[in-house]
Symmetry: C3
Subunit: 261 residues, 3 copies
């Protein structure tokens, strides 16, 4: 096993986020807890420049507006040119027509390296007739692994589908991730944080399929360790930051729980 | 006693917020801690659609702009049509002319089901010549119960006036709530969270007068339980989330402290 | 020693922030933990009015846009007129051309009483050819004390340069502050919070040079006390709020660690 954690702590990659106003602090703080450097900059006048000095770009449409989408496209173009990974978290796709249209607009104009969403968000992006309850997944009537694989193939991207089991596909293969804990769903923002974590693992590993797997395993293991010590969502988030900060490759090695198909 | 808590946990109502950028995470996370689902969406292109799939709409003008006010009116119209409750948190009314004008604009164009504010904010909305210190109440020279009742009558709304004692009026009757704890005032955001909690209790109870009372009692009891275990505002907010998450109708039944007039 | 802490708790100064969307809650909550009242209002229609009822203005360009810069200039003009202190946190100056230009624009049109930044941000403002990695300092090739002193002289401001050792200059003298702890750098937002803390100490002390020194010593001591009890960034931030809330002039007196040159 390589040691992504040490690489992150040593190189301190700069992770540029254009994200939502709800969990923006949590995304920044989780990036920092892993030892990387977050930067958030959404002004169209500087966002491409900020991306150009960064090692990954994380886009999250949780509280999107036209202006934010424009900034995302400017930054993603810059990232595509610099060949740094672009992660797109499809928050709320399937809940309003506007989100679906804006997601489509982004896919039409730039390349997304890693597409992340919950089951109904990814199903919607894959063209299924599903709906999302705000930013919460609904049950989907299609085989999730098939959906992930097809979307990955059609977009030439890695697809990360989060839920009780996380599914990652590169269009051919599948990883099933069984790390994590239901307490992660008891707080707002673990989904958004996961996209940040994927961003920072992808910033130090050109194999984005493996980087996504590592990211969810490391983050999930921290979630499991935090859950053991917590009495509710308040103490859980405190412990989650502490466990991430104190994570070691050895701890994760013993607790990683994934399957390759 | 009915069991609002169980109803919330079972139906997981979607609570749409158009709120301020300071406490937006806290409002979302508190909604989640109670077992409901928060969604924040302020773009005029989608906000009405998001309201249409929600069970309550919470408006908070803490960091208002013209654009945010427009989004609020679009969403509130959608909520009025769908007959889901609209909660308006009058943050900072009485501190600047702009806030007063924007609040008036909202009341002119849509119906607000539940108006929430501190003593000076509510007094200002009721036409009294009072001032608010930023977003902090000042002492008012009028009888708070009378002010709450009159505003409730004139707007055909429930009025929730928060302070050392909370006063709720439907224009005829009054509830005085004596739950809660001064530590709730030691952190930023408990007032905003209270509006979210009212929103989620109103989403499962058409009697908004009783729903507001329940909301403040449940939230106040959690605050009291959290305060016992806390050493300051940092540990208090952690414990508040934990206590809310672990609240039961039984615990609250024994600690509820309100009076009906 | 005067007692700034008691003065703050007694007068509860209103501290107006126009700040970034990442750490906006942390700045507000830290202001509250010290016993002062935060208010955040960035709409051009009201920001100058809000400043006019405040005791200090804190500007932070972490997530700047043209609109935010305009609001900052309106509020700073109002503050200059009212003779209340304006604190400018130069977040990310040196990372993009836009930030450098916007900072220059602000300095051209209003007076800044206290300029705060990390080593590379301050060096950039002082005209040195340095770069900032996002919002993170880089090593600079010039004498930091000299840079701080020169910038202070050229702008007729107090300059606060934060890093392993904090350097404060009024253009003639220098304070070196050795309080604080490296755990403060393990979370996002302590830099932004420090600007808020400087704002609130300056709001009750016309000697901004001494007020800045007090602010960093008090905040740093709280950081040292919090670090002793913490297992990582999650528990550190919790303990930081608790320690600030429970700080006393006596505790700080014994632990203050600064040098005057």
């Amino acid at each position: 096993m390589n040691s992504p954690l040490q690489k992150i702590k040593e190189t301190k990659p700069l992770i540029h986020h254009i994200t939502n106003w709800v969990t923006i602090y949590e995304c920044a703080n989780m990036t920092r807890a892993f030892g990387a450097l977050p930067v958030m900059a959404h002004s169209p006048e500087e966002c491409a420049d900020m991306t150009a000095i960064s090692s990954a770009l994380v886009l999250n449409i949780g509280t999107l507006t036209y202006e934010i989408i424009d900034a995302m496209m400017l930054s993603a173009s810059s990232a595509n040119e610099k060949k740094i990974p672009v992660i797109f978290d499809a928050v709320g796709v399937g809940s309003t027509k506007f989100r679906d249209e804006m997601a489509a607009k982004i896919f039409d104009s730039v390349h997304i390296d890693i597409i992340k969403g919950n089951y109904s968000e990814i199903a919607k992006l894959a063209g299924e007739s599903t709906e999302t309850k705000g930013v919460e997944t609904t049950s989907i009537n299609v085989d999730p692994e098939k959906v992930a694989k097809e979307l990955a193939k059609s977009k030439s991207s890695i697809v990360v589908m989060t839920g009780k089991e996380d599914i990652i596909s590169d269009g051919k293969k599948i990883y099933i991730i069984r790390n994590g804990n239901e307490q992660m769903g008891s707080i707002v923002g673990t989904g958004c944080m996961a996209a940040s974590v994927i961003g920072l693992f992808a910033s130090i590993n050109f194999n984005y399929f493996d980087a996504s797997k590592d990211a969810l395993c490391y983050f999930g293991v921290a979630g499991e360790l935090a859950a053991e010590k917590s009495n509710g969502p308040g103490s859980f988030i405190v412990n989650l930051y502490d466990e991430v900060f104190n994570l070691s490759d050895e701890k994760v090695k013993n607790m990683m729980n994934f399957e390759e198909k």
